[in-house]
């Protein structure tokens, strides 16, 4: 019943968001999130569930998106006649077809071989997209108009918010299906093959076939995400199938947390926000993104979702509240330390000109500012170091086994 409630909650959040924030910008960001969620979830099917590290997942997203835009054009010129609400399905089918073709030879092995093939395919498709101008439209891409299709119950999709509700529907359905996939024999065997392909073969499953199925399903949903992209932006360009997009989805899934179903959703939301909001406050947001990614890989190998799930034991024991104060004690100086590092970076960047940082105005020409910054940084660093002990103690206390033989999920 808890699961059902979670799904209903998910649906309510999806549909409720535009009620809370309804500026054009907010809707734009929600639309981006919707696309990113489906895309990142599909990526997680490969890497998180199936153990296949891909550097070219944007290929299926992009091809799906391109075909979706072409489908919109066909609707506009009345070559075909169907509701644009089905466009994501067009993208999905193209993603699926592309994945069936590539998967037929790339899923033979996981690991490095798979990763390298995905890289090679990604580069080849990205290069082709600039060469085959008649389909891909060169660097300007192809664009279409979504409003020429037959109205969907009176909605003609003039406004982004209408597209958002459509996307939200697709996101919900896609999420449900991707979740259900993990509960099927094919989905579960994907986990098994990820863990131990050899053993999977000895219980009757071809590791290659299992990977192939995951790969194709993942390609399908990546294509659906591409279709959503086409609907939302009404154009698509080669950047949507090149290495940058492939890298971004890897970042999303990894930062969110690979091993958990909700991980990529978290990652998609966080990265979308960073991409669209942080970039307005600092030109260095890509640097921060890189730092965040590397730090996540180093210190939170299971991503944000893993960090949240770490507290499951304490939560189940009802001791989560006992962690609040220790977190506050260590967290405050930690945040201050991070903040002073960021301030230092920004000061280096804004050489010779004052700039606003949070509620302060900093000037790199002012030695006093540097000294103050160094003092805050050093003080918070030591405060953070010193308080780590009490956090550890509290953590141990909250997670201590009542029964020593009983291990908890780590």
């Amino acid at each position: 019943m808890g699961k059902f409630a979670a799904w209903v909650g998910y649906l309510i959040v999806l549909l409720g968001l535009p009620q809370l924030f309804d500026s054009v910008l907010a809707i734009t960001i929600f639309n981006q999130m919707a696309i990113a969620i489906v895309f990142a979830l599909s990526y997680n099917m490969l890497l998180g569930q199936g153990g296949m590290l891909s550097f070219g997942h944007a290929v299926y997203f992009g091809l799906g998106g391109f075909m979706a835009v072409h489908a919109l054009i066909m609707i506009e010129f009345e070559t075909v006649y169907f509701s644009i609400t089905l466009i994501p399905l067009v993208g999905g089918l193209i993603g699926l077809i592309a994945a069936v073709f590539v998967g037929s030879f790339s899923t033979h092995k996981a690991g490095t071989v798979f990763a390298m093939i995905s890289l090679g395919i990604g580069e080849l498709v990205a290069a082709s997209s600039l060469i085959f101008v008649s389909f891909f439209g060169g660097e300007a891409g192809v664009s279409a108009d979504r409003t020429f299709g037959p109205p969907f119950f009176g909605v003609e999709f003039f406004q982004d918010v209408e597209i958002y509700y459509l996307s939200a529907g697709w996101v919900f359905v896609s999420t449900v299906f991707m979740y259900l996939f993990t509960q099927t024999p094919a989905g579960r065997m994907a986990n098994a093959v990820r863990d131990n392909p050899e053993r999977a073969e000895f219980i009757g499953y071809s590791a290659r076939r299992v990977r192939f199925i995951s790969f194709c399903t993942s390609g399908f949903f990546a294509g659906v995400a591409g279709g959503l992209f086409a609907l939302n932006y009404e154009f698509i360009t080669e950047e949507n199938l090149n290495a940058v997009t492939s890298g971004r989805v890897l970042l999303m899934a990894y930062i969110g947390g690979l091993g958990y179903f909700i991980g990529p959703i978290i990652g998609a939301v966080v990265l979308t926000l960073m991409n669209s909001l942080l970039s307005n406050y600092t030109e260095l947001w890509m640097l921060y993104l890189g730092m965040m990614f590397v730090l996540t890989v180093l210190f939170l190998p299971r991503g944000f979702a893993g960090f949240i799930m770490m507290h499951q034991t304490a939560w189940l024991r009802g001791k989560l509240s006992s962690l609040f104060l220790p977190y506050l004690i260590t967290g405050t100086p930690a945040i201050m330390f991070g903040g002073s590092i960021l301030a230092a970076i920004e000061m280096l960047h804004h050489e010779g000109e004052p700039f606003g940082f949070l509620f302060l105005t900093l000037d790199s020409g002012n030695t006093l500012h540097w000294l103050a910054l160094a003092a805050v940084g050093a003080a918070s660093y030591f405060a953070c170091r010193r308080s780590l002990g009490q956090l550890n103690v509290a953590w141990e206390e909250a997670n201590r086994m009542d029964n020593p033989t009983e291990g908890g999920p780590g």
């Binding site: 099927t184 024999p185 579960r188 863990d195 131990n196 050899e198 199925i213």
Partner: protein, 256 residues
């Protein structure tokens, strides 16, 4: 009636011939042990039968079907299950998922993505039942990688027999266990292989002579004897090649 037959099976790695023309017949329902000194090729033989390695020459039939050089999963689907000398489970899946995965194919679920595992009440009940049999029911929801060694070995067995295969091949099932753990394992093996054919590689002679109906002795890639335990024990060739030192080896060192 023989369920598994090897005809002139050979295997070379480069220039080294590891298995040299092995002939072997396993009768349906028997408990057959393969013994031999270190490096005799026992594990290699297992790998050849189960499809992990390709044969250099020869023929293997299982229930009158040729299975040599077919991929492991096809062989497994025919009803030939095996365990591994080094624990070989799905470490991040739960214990329950491990055995349930072992059951999926024979359940006819295949690569389906239309069935929800949660709805397979009968399958899940059987998985729980199997966990009870191997005494892991209380660990059902733990990641398999976090189990204690003996428990992992038990799970290894559980995954092997989960499919309900008729022929079960166990590669040193009690290697590395303490005496009491080994005893428990042996009785477990007895219990879960009831009514099935068992082929096992084992170093511990007490266990071998305890369990096996028939014993084959593999020395330098050749079967030098295949007979009842008493006859093998009495065989001078075997004594010369193997049993003399077996007393030393019996403490349970590992096959290379």
């Amino acid at each position: 009636m023989s369920i598994l037959s090897l005809h002139n099976v050979s295997k070379s790695f480069g220039k080294t011939e590891i298995i040299r023309g092995v002939n072997l017949d396993i009768q349906a329902g028997e408990r057959h042990a393969i013994i031999g000194p270190n490096g005799a090729g026992k594990s290699t033989l297992f790998h050849l039968i189960s499809g992990k390695y390709q044969l250099s020459s020869g023929r293997i039939t299982f229930r009158d079907q040729e299975i040599q050089n077919r991929p492991p999963y096809e062989i497994a689907r025919l009803g030939l299950a095996r365990s591994f000398q080094v624990t070989n489970i799905f470490p991040r899946l739960s214990v329950f998922e491990n055995v349930r995965c072992g059951m999926l194919w024979q359940q006819g679920l295949g690569y389906s993505f239309r069935h929800l595992l949660g709805r397979q009440t009968e399958l899940n009940a059987r998985a729980i039942h199997l966990l009870e049999e191997i005494n892991l029911a209380d660990r059902a929801d733990f990641p398999a990688g976090e189990l204690a060694y003996a428990q992992q070995r038990a799970l290894e067995l559980g995954v092997a027999i989960a499919s309900g295969a008729d022929l079960i091949m166990l590669d040193e099932p009690v290697a590395g266990m303490s005496l009491s753990e080994a005893e428990a394992a042996v009785s477990l093996i007895r219990k879960i292989t009831k009514g099935k054919t068992l082929v096992m590689v084992e170093h511990d002679m007490n266990i071998v002579f305890d369990i096996a109906d028939r014993i084959s002795v593999l020395v330098y890639g050749e079967i030098i004897a295949s007979d009842s335990p008493q006859a093998v024990r009495a065989n001078p060739k075997v004594q010369e090649a193997y049993l003399g030192e077996a007393a030393l080896a019996a403490a349970g060192d590992n096959d290379a």
